[in-house]
């Protein structure tokens, strides 16, 4: 077993153990803190996959914004969430069964996937991944050159649609979260 495999197994065990704590922690604030552990574990996996930009995005957006948003929401609804009673077994048993069946189905798909045993190709030496991602997402022609070849992959339209979706969602979130009295005053 190489050092890299050991690192992967440690990160995977840490991520999965934290994920189990997220779904089983009695107090909701603890579940949110365990979610931060899961997100850091996933960031380690991105680093192992050499997706450097996404490591930064994971830490800044997921841990820095989304996890903090969760913690604020839990604190604002504190009276309800402080002692979250465990749900009845009639609710937990079907959920467990469904997720176990899903796990079986997904594992079957992975086992049947012909490329599942593939090892990663060597990183192209002159690929600047951050630059190429920026060109693919923002430039209208999506022209990024590496290994002497010019690539034209452009995701400007889907990316802009996603940003309009995010803007609309945030405007809607502000509207929903404002109280009616405050709305009438302004």
């Amino acid at each position: 077993m190489t050092a890299e495999q050991g690192l992967f197994l440690c990160a995977a065990a840490f991520t999965l153990a934290s994920a189990v704590m997220v779904v089983s922690a009695r107090r909701l604030i603890h579940a949110a803190l365990w979610l931060i552990a899961v997100l850091s574990g996933v960031a380690i996996l991105y680093a192992l996959l050499q997706a450097s930009f996404l490591v930064v995005v994971q830490v800044v957006i997921y841990i820095g914004a989304i996890a903090v948003l969760f913690i604020f929401a839990i604190m604002l609804t504190r009276r309800q969430t402080d002692h979250d009673a465990p749900s009845r077994w009639t609710r937990r048993a079907p959920a467990f069964l469904i997720s176990l069946l899903t796990l079986g189905a997904l594992s079957g798909i992975v086992l049947a996937f012909p490329e599942a045993g593939r090892l990663p190709p060597p990183m192209p030496p002159d690929l600047d991944a951050v630059n190429a991602l920026g060109a693919a997402l923002l430039s209208p022609t999506g022209a990024a050159a590496y290994a002497g070849v010019l690539f034209h992959e452009s995701y400007v339209l889907p990316f802009e649609v996603a940003s309009v979706l995010l803007l609309a969602a945030l405007v809607g979130a502000i509207y929903l979260a404002t109280t009616e009295r405050r709305r009438r005053e302004s």
Partner: protein
């Protein structure tokens, strides 16, 4: 670099199913959203693993599409959390509850 692709796929499948269990078994709406976050992260792990293992092969026509997909999933996840938590806060303010099965305003 000696990790087979299937290791990442199995990890993502396990993470997805953990999130699915959380989303189905919890009563609290915020805890359900936490489970959905786990599922979205599992999907992103899959996308990045496919990018590293399949998109970076020599002579691939589109070497960055896995990462581009993942970035768009990030944006959609942020939108989902913002709207979801705002809805939960709004319901909490009116009904003083965040339990998903006590919110039946739209049921008939």
């Amino acid at each position: 670099m000696s990790i087979p692709l299937s290791w990442y796929l199995f990890l993502a499948a396990a993470l997805f199913c953990t999130g699915l269990y959380g989303a189905l078994s919890r009563r609290n709406a915020i805890a359900i959203l936490l489970g959905v976050e786990l599922m979205l992260n599992a999907v992103n792990v899959n996308l990045i693993a496919f990018w590293r293992y399949l998109d970076l092969r020599p002579n691939d026509p589109a070497p960055m599409n896995g990462q581009a997909f993942a970035v768009i999933v990030f944006a959609v996840a942020a939108a989902e959390v913002a709207v979801g938590l705002a809805l939960i806060l709004s319901v909490y303010r009116r009904r003083k509850t965040v339990a998903a099965d006590e919110v039946n305003l739209l049921k008939w």
